[in-house]
Subunit: 322 residues, 2 copies
Amino acid sequence: MEFDLIAKYFTRATPDAVLGVGDDCALLAPSPGMQLAVSSDMLLEGRHFSPQDSPAGIGHKSLAVNLSDLAAMGAAPRWATLSIALPEVDDAWLTAFSRGFFRMADLHGIELVGGDTTRGALTLSITVIGEVPPGQALRRDGAQAGDDIWVSGVLGSAAMALAYRQGRLFMEQIDAAKVLPALYLPMPRVELGIALRGIAHSAIDISDGLLGDLGHILERSQVGAKSIGARLEFSALPTLPVVQSYLHEAVARDCVLAGGDDYELCFTAPQAKRDLVLTAANDAGVSVSRIGHISAKPGLTVTDADGQSLIIEHTGYDHFAA
Amino acid sequence: MEFDLIAKYFTRATPDAVLGVGDDCALLAPSPGMQLAVSSDMLLEGRHFSPQDSPAGIGHKSLAVNLSDLAAMGAAPRWATLSIALPEVDDAWLTAFSRGFFRMADLHGIELVGGDTTRGALTLSITVIGEVPPGQALRRDGAQAGDDIWVSGVLGSAAMALAYRQGRLFMEQIDAAKVLPALYLPMPRVELGIALRGIAHSAIDISDGLLGDLGHILERSQVGAKSIGARLEFSALPTLPVVQSYLHEAVARDCVLAGGDDYELCFTAPQAKRDLVLTAANDAGVSVSRIGHISAKPGLTVTDADGQSLIIEHTGYDHFAA
């Protein structure tokens, strides 16, 4: 099935593997005593990226969104496989795609050890494998009432960039340039995830929007029939200044709370560990913001600066209903 | 991205995982001291299966072809991820597909621990992870001059079944029933692969046809500039009787030597271990046939019963040139 694409574009030395591309399987020697974190994502042209997107950017982002899952687990990236369906062998496209892919791989020390190529509509399917010490993974199900809620980076930029690219929002080029990287070149918070081991009670990456993803933490952290809830303060949510300057209030709120594609980490940690969280973020070179807290009362409330409720969501709804 | 399909059709208890479906990553505890064998395959409707195919059969085969890669490595199956693009949520299709998938999973003790679902043309992307003791994996690069060449099961049945299904070959229904399982319900030779640890020098699964896949062993087992070759005796190749009764000689030869989709193991082992090979096959409940030997002389020759050359192939050609 491989029509020699793998050898030409996707085979590099894999010093971190016992055996890399070229056999029926890759052979890997996991570090003694570590657990494996494994995640798979599939990206389709026309749905997750557009035919006009830069192939190097697609290479970057396809691996970045997978690395973001490892980050949300606090796992250190080790190995990846890439399965790719292509309508034709386009040398320029493949060269640029693999350059973007490997640049992201090198940045986080992950090795491409296998995969598959076939002819078909452009489809990318990636599996990443990372390592984390037993008991130290940042799971979705560990949030506790009283925890602070934190997010990394800024929110809403990717949603704004998408609206701009689709012609639904006018922006000056100099301002568009501030949000476009969030959409096309997201940076997975791998170092932050690792630094939060032993500090955060729970974590998730914000791929579907803050409210939806925080909702997943609440659902999974429920103990028996005992639900927990979240209280967010809208003014504490980190955004770029352009969000306020270009968007009506309600639209801005939607971008920030439910925009998705941000690939930041949302995590909870005990109040007693605020200093440790800030130190971890500083060491990882990422800004973090404390945006609210986990409460014993179910539901998800967002309040304005005066303490008035802006939005109340009940967890457990289907975020993907058509 | 999951639109709740994962919870409904693909979430079962995963006692063999620390954490299964439902978080950013699955968490797995590999067995101490074992190496991991990892393989990924992508299957597209219209290319690897047809819209008319039974969804339970597609579920079976999609996992079986991946397990076949673990078998060819001598690895014991442990965990799998499944990413699936679907044009719509078809309850009957998904129910049948997941039944076929999990039946195959249960047969080989592999657990589905993660994946992704999205909307798009029907596409299946699976990654399997198995375990093998260090130094005992059956690689493609270990063949040595003097080794016997063996195959499991019978060859050519899947190619014949495909020709029948596509209307290119007439067969009585009772005879078609003998070859159709090879195409739709291939059985990966997992137990045989494990039993051949420490016995076989090299192995590959026959997904692209015997000659092409044996060619991969020859290419990879080359030591420096020193090539090795293979001599096969055509009459020793195992086939079902229907192959001879329905096909002209040249067509039969093509089906058997290059038909593909057989998912049998082709492996080499020293002559001194013939008894051990037969015992391993017997223990695994699979028939094996000794079909030729590895020679110090490069090239791939197939001879008839009189020792006349039928076919001479030179290794290193592109099996996938259009």
